[in-house]
Amino acid sequence: MEIFKIQFSAADLKVIAPELVLTIFALFVLILSVFVRRQSRGPLGYTALVGVVIAFFSLFLGIGKEIKAFNGMVTMDPFCLFFKVMFLIVAFLTILASLGYTKREGIDLGEYYVLVLFATVGMMLMASGVNLLIIFLGLEVMSISIYVLAGIMRDDTRSVEAAFKYFLLGAFASAFLLYGIALTYASTGTLDLAGIGEVLTRQAWISSLPIVIIGLALLIIGFGFKIALVPFHMWTPDVYEGAPTSITAFMATGVKAAGFAAFVRVFFYALPNLQAYWTQIMWILAVATMTVGNIIALSQTNIKRMLAYSSIAHAGYIMVAFVAGNELGKSSILFYLLAYVFMNIGAFTVVILLGKKGEENTQLADYAGVGFKHPLLAASMSIFMLSLAGVPPMAGFMAKFYVFSAAVKARYYWLAVIGVLNSAVAAYYYLRVLIYMYFREPERELAVGAFSPSAVLAVIISVWGVLQIGILPSTFLALAQRSVQFLL
C-alpha cells in the first residue's frame, strides 16, 4: 500500500474558494433559521443571495494558475471556471425567482435556501473534480439536496410524489454510475481521470476488455439518467410537474448543466480512447432523445410538463454536439448550456409570476389573453419561447446553429438533418404558447397575485442574457472555445 502524504497549502483552499464560501453561508443560514422567529425569516433568502455574490468574487482567487489541488482531486481550469460561473448564475436567478414564490406558497424556510446553496456546491464539485470520487460526491451532494427540495411543499401530495419518484430513480441511477466507476477503477487501477486516460493510451489492449466496455455502458446509463436522455427520461415530466416551479427551473438548468459538465469531463478527458465505442451509442441516444422529447411535447397541455419534454429535447440537441466531438462541438456544448440557462429560467420565472397561492395556472388555457393583460410579461415569455424554438436573433438560434454546424463539420450529415427537422417540429409547441397568449379569448379571469420585484428582476436578467447571447454570440463562443482548449 502506498502511504498518503498530505500536502496542503493555502493555494489548495483558493481553488475551492467559491465552494467554501457557499458552504459557510449555507451553514450560517441553517443555524440562523432555527434561531430567528417565524416572522423574521425574510432576510434568510437575501443572506443566501449575498453568499452567491461573494462566491462569484471569490472565483478570482483561483484564476490564473491551472493547478490541481488536494493531491489532484480538484482542478481550476477554464472549463470548470465557465461552469462555475454558470452555476452561480443559475443559483442567483433561482433564489431571485424564489424569494416571492416561497413566501406565497408557505415554503419560506431557511432550509430551502440552504439546500439550494448545497446543491450548487455539489454542481461545482462535479465540474471541478478530476477524480471520479469527487465527481461522485458532487453528484450526490447535488442530488440529495434536490430530492428534498422537490418535496419541500410537504402538504402538497404532488410535490411529495415528485420527490418520491425522483428519489427512487435518482438513487437507482447513482448505483449504475457507481458500478461504472468501480469497473473502470478495477480495469485501470486508478480513479484519477488523467490517470485513466494515460493507462488506456499506454496499454491499448485494456480498451478492448469486456469489463471496460461494461463500465463504459454503466457510466452512460448513470449520466443519462441525470441529464434525462431517452430512454432514461421517464422521471423527468412527473418530477418537473410536481416540484415547486422555482426548483423545476433549478433542476432543468443547473442539474442538467452539471450532469453535462461531468459527462464531458469524464468522456473527453479520461475515455477519449474509447470514442470508437461510445460514438455509435451516443448517436442513437441523441436521435432518440430529440425525437421522443419533441413528439411527446406536442400533445402537452400543462406548461410545466411541456417545458419538461422540451428540456429532454434540448438535451438531445446538446448530445448532437457531443457526438460531433470536434472543437466546435465541444465548445458549442458549453455555449448551448449557457443560452439554455437563461431562456429556461426565464420561462419558468414567468410561469411562477402568473400563478398565485393555491392556483398555479399552469394549463395552456390559462395563458389565453395574457398578452393584453400583462403585455411586458407576455413579451418576455415570447422572447423565451422564440429562443427555445430557435428563432433568430435569440440565443437559442445561435446555439442550435453552432451545434448543427459542428455535426456537419464532423460529417454527421444525417444527425444534423434529423436535428433540424426536430427543431422545425418543436417550433409548433413553442409558438402555440404565443398563440394562446395573443390570439385566444380567456375562458375565465386569470387571478394573478402581486408580482414579486425580485422575480421580475430575474426575468429582466434572463431577457438580457437571451438577447445578449443571441446578438453578440462570438464573444460567448470565444469564451466557450477557450474553456475547452485543454480537452483538445
Binding site: 440529495i144 401530495t157 427512487l168 448505483a175 457507481l178 458500478y179 477503477y185 486508478t190 480513479l191
Partner: protein, 103 residues
C-alpha cells in the same frame, strides 16, 4: 480475502448481487423493498471496489467505499423521510398506486 480465490470470483459475485438488486428494483412494488434493493446494489459495488483495491494494492477503492457508505446513509435518511411523508398523505407507498402525476 481468502487465499487461492481469484479476484474474478469476487467480481462475479458482486455482479450477481448487483443484478439481483437491479431486477428487484424493476419488479417489486413496495417502495421500502425497492429501496433495499438499491442499497443492495450499492453494497455490491462496494464489494467490487474492495476487491479491486486489494488486488491493485491501492487505497483509492477503500477510500471510495467509505464515502459510498456515508452517501448511502444520507440517501436512506432522506428517502425514508420522503416515504413517511408520502404515506401520511396517501396511505400507501406501493409504487403502482402513486399515480397522481402520470407515471
Amino acid at each position: 480475502m481468502l487465499p487461492n480465490v481469484p479476484p474474478v470470483c469476487y467480481l462475479i459475485v458482486s455482479a450477481l448481487i448487483f443484478a439481483i438488486g437491479a431486477v428487484g428494483v424493476l419488479i417489486r412494488r413496495d417502495a421500502i423493498v425497492i429501496f433495499m434493493c438499491i442499497e443492495m446494489m450499492l453494497s455490491a459495488v462496494n464489494l467490487s471496489l474492495i476487491t479491486a483495491s486489494h488486488y491493485l494494492d491501492s487505497l483509492d477503492g477503500v477510500l471510495m467505499v467509505f464515502f459510498v457508505m456515508t452517501v448511502a446513509a444520507a440517501e436512506a435518511a432522506v428517502g425514508l423521510a420522503i416515504f413517511v411523508l408520502l404515506y401520511r398523505g396517501r396511505g400507501t407507498i406501493k409504487v403502482d398506486e402513486i399515480n397522481l402525476l402520470k407515471w
